[in-house]
């Protein structure tokens, strides 16, 4: 284990090690490490960013010389928050990137002390307005606090003072999923940008671009169900596209079908949802628990079931509104409890009992 860890940091020379099994003819080119497509197609410039017009506009202006406000970027996963700010920083500072950017994310220690010391000492150094290569660049540094919603409130409070004091030399950029977890004094110091879930058209365009680059053959229906399941999360969509393509293997050139997509996305086939409804209507507790056991054995996730069931219940027109409300309330309670780690079996059994009582007539 120790030897496993102590093999030199990235970028240093090659570590010597015992030669393992070497399969000739399968070697890959060094230095050209294979990366998953999400990273390969991560926007390199702010112009590559799909949608999210407002932020892009502000950043573009900054690139052409305007001042930059403190930013707060928030939105669901995979909508381009991290990519956007990193791309902008790269464009702004080029080679000086390392000196001018301090990136702290949830995997770094971000207690009060760190905010006070590390951020402060970074912010205090002054920054000149010229790059080493003579080109002009903004005379400030940027502190990127990624995944800021996982910072404690105390640490956020400590950030307040630092932010105010260092306005001359430093801009802050906070990135998070849930803006409600950021304390109000911080949000009021930043210009807020919401990253919307990406629109279908944009995702299709992007996926088609990637498919043509990578020679992927995907059916139109499959593309549609991929987008429906991804729900505006482009990263998830790209990962799914790549996984479908790779799982098939190199020699299989047949197109990706909707069934492939459903499996990779972890969507529960609709027959399971329909089955749950009809078995609940039968009003037999043992049949229902039997069904639940089977469902769990198949490995499907209860959280996903709740989501899909919710859609089904809301759209169903044979259930009265009163019953819909009862069921949805139970759905909400169960979803919350599941999130906290409660047993899937018990929560689903509870939900099914409610379903049974409501569906019987």
């Amino acid at each position: 284990m120790q030897s496993f860890l102590k093999t030199g940091k990235l970028g240093s020379g090659s570590g010597a090690g015992p030669s393992g099994d070497k399969q000739s003819g399968k070697g890959q080119k060094r230095g050209n490490r294979p990366t998953p497509w999400v990273e390969k197609y991560r926007p390199k410039t702010v112009d590559d960013v799909v949608e999210q017009g407002d932020v892009v506009e502000v950043l573009r202006q900054c690139l052409s010389g305007a001042d930059l406000p403190n930013l707060l970027l928030y939105g669901p996963p995979g909508t381009g928050k991290t990519s956007t700010i990193l791309a902008a920083a790269r464009q702004l500072f080029g080679d000086m990137y390392r000196d001018r950017i301090l990136e702290l994310n949830a995997s770094d220690e971000r207690g009060i002390q760190i905010i006070r010391d590390k951020v402060k000492s970074f912010a205090q150094l002054s920054a000149s307005g010229i790059r080493p290569d003579g080109k002009p660049c903004p005379a400030f540094k940027i502190v990127i606090l990624d995944e800021a919603d996982s910072m404690t409130h105390a640490a956020q409070a400590a950030l307040r003072r630092t932010m105010e004091k260092q306005t001359r030399t430093t801009r802050f950029c906070l990135v998070c999923n849930y803006v409600s977890r950021i304390i109000q004094p911080l949000t009021s110091r930043c210009t807020k940008f919401r990253f919307k879930p990406l629109g279908e058209v944009k995702i299709i365009e992007r996926l088609q671009f990637i498919s043509s680059q990578e020679n992927v053959n995907i059916e139109q229906d499959a593309l549609q169900s991929l987008i429906a399941a991804a729900g505006g999360d482009l990263r998830r969509a790209i990962t799914c596209l790549q996984s479908c393509a790779r799982l098939k293997g190199k020699d299989d050139t047949s197109a990706i079908t909707p069934d492939d997509v459903v499996e990779v996305m972890g969507v529960i086939p609709s027959r399971w949802i329909d089955g749950l409804m009809s078995v609940s209507e039968e009003f037999d507790y043992y049949k229902v628990t039997e069904y639940l056991d089977q469902f769990i054995m198949e490995g499907y996730s209860a959280g996903q079931l709740l989501e899909q069931l919710h859609l089904k219940i809301v759209m169903c027109d044979t259930i009265s509104d009163k019953h819909k409300a009862t069921i949805c309330e139970k759905l909400a309670v169960c979803a919350y409890r599941l999130q906290e780690g409660a047993s899937e079996y018990l929560q689903m059994a509870d939900l099914c009992c409610t379903l049974m009582l409501c569906l019987r007539q």
Binding site: M1, Q2, L5, T7, G8, K9, L10, G15, A16, G17, P18, S19, G20, D21, K22, Q23, Q28, R33, P34, P36, V38, E39, P76, P77, N105, A106, S107, E109, G111, E147, D149, S150, R236, T239, C240, Q242, S243, R246, K248, G249, K250, G266, Y285, M297, E298, G299, A302, G303, R337, L338, Q339, G341, L346, Q347, A349, D350, C353, T354, M356, L357
Partner: protein, 355 residues
């Protein structure tokens, strides 16, 4: 001598006995080095770990089977020192972050990030990246999951994560969006029967079909349990007979008896007695969800539908509370007390109704 579960564990993807299509797909997946992180999920005993081990072998060859067990010291931000058990080879490292309890975030921050930052030990190996396997991701705290997010992106070219969990319900959306989900369903009854028969054949035994069916019925599609039961049948009596009754693990019998004693009498005295039994179960490391589920299965048997719904609701309520507090026994006891209360009332009412 090793147990059958270990002895007959398939070593490579092509030798896996069921979900062969998936095994093939995984094989395709690792052929090119650009696959994303994996999130492997499925019920316990479905063979997730076996599949991951096979996958690693497919990636790195037999070298990954040379395992070392070590314990790595970790210092928490508050200065506390912890030792974390790890299993590693030259190519991969496996950790269960929940071993560190509330400090699981430190494990992710120190251990996972460090191994992600260092590069592949073996320069002649065919892969540029190594693999970090995290088990029991269900019980990873939200903070620890957050700590994984950027690490997963930043070092993806040098390190792939394989996360193993029972369900994806507790995995935060940001992590799910970064992984390819691989669902491993439990083997079907027929698949288990044929695996049992194969194992017996290799042991030079013949397994009567009736006995195999009995074992499968009791194992609830848990392959590990089925193999263990089959082996204990052998110990009980060889050659294997049709009439033999597979023995359930002792705690299951004990749990059933506990439920029966709750049904038998509802009184403070009885509650005390049940309490002792619950402690006994917990001290044998039986997970609390399993106790809840086992109790519930028996307890509802004598209730009408309306009452069933109430009992299930209470069970779901108290089991959830377990995860908010730190002492499970309180909530287990509370549930039993509540049940006794409801049940007694129900029985009394139905006696009154009779007149």
């Amino acid at each position: 001598m090793s147990l059958w579960v270990d002895k007959y564990r398939p070593k490579s993807l092509s030798l896996l006995d069921y979900h062969k299509d998936q095994a093939n797909q995984l094989k395709n997946l690792v052929k090119q080095g650009d696959f994303p992180h994996l999130l492997v999920y499925g019920p316990s005993g479905a063979g997730k770990k076996t599949r991951v081990t096979c996958l690693l072998r497919e990636l790195y060859g037999p070298g990954v089977e040379k395992l070392r067990m070590e314990s790595v010291p970790i210092t928490t931000p508050s200065g506390k020192k912890l030792d974390i058990k790890t299993i590693s080879s030259n190519y991969h490292i496996e950790v269960n972050p929940s071993d560190a309890g509330i400090y699981d975030r430190c494990v992710v921050m120190e251990l996972v990030k460090n191994s992600a930052q260092t590069h592949q030990l073996d320069p002649t190996g065919q892969r540029d990246f190594k693999v970090v396997v995290l088990t029991e991701v269900d019980s990873l705290s939200v903070d620890a999951q957050h700590a994984l997010r950027r690490t997963m992106e930043k070092y993806v070219s040098t390190c792939r994560l394989i996360l193993i969990s029972n369900s994806t319900s507790r995995v935060i959306p940001a992590i799910r969006s970064r992984c390819l989900g691989v669902r491993v369903a439990a083997p079907t009854q027929d698949q288990i029967i044929s695996i049992l028969q194969m194992a017996c054949k290799k042991e030079g035994l013949s397994l009567p079909l009736d006995l195999a069916k009995k074992i499968v019925d009791k194992s609830e599609r848990n392959l590990r349990l089925a193999l263990l039961m089959c082996e204990s049948c052998k110990v009980q009596e060889t050659p294997l007979k049709e009439k033999q009754e597979p023995i359930l693990p002792q705690w299951q019998v004990f749990l059933k008896d506990t439920a029966r004693s709750i049904m038998h009498e509802q009184s403070p005295k009885q509650l005390m007695e049940v309490r002792g039994r619950l402690y006994e179960l917990l001290s044998h490391n039986i997970p609390i969800q399993i106790i809840f589920k086992g109790l519930l299965k028996e307890l509802v048997s004598n209730c009408d539908m309306k009452l069933k719904a109430v009992v299930v609701e209470e069970a779901a309520f108290f089991e959830h509370r377990v995860h908010q507090g730190s002492k499970g026994i309180f909530h287990l006891e509370a549930f039993v007390a509540k049940f006794m209360c409801i049940y007694k009332k129900f029985m009394e009412d139905s006696v009154i109704d009779m007149f």
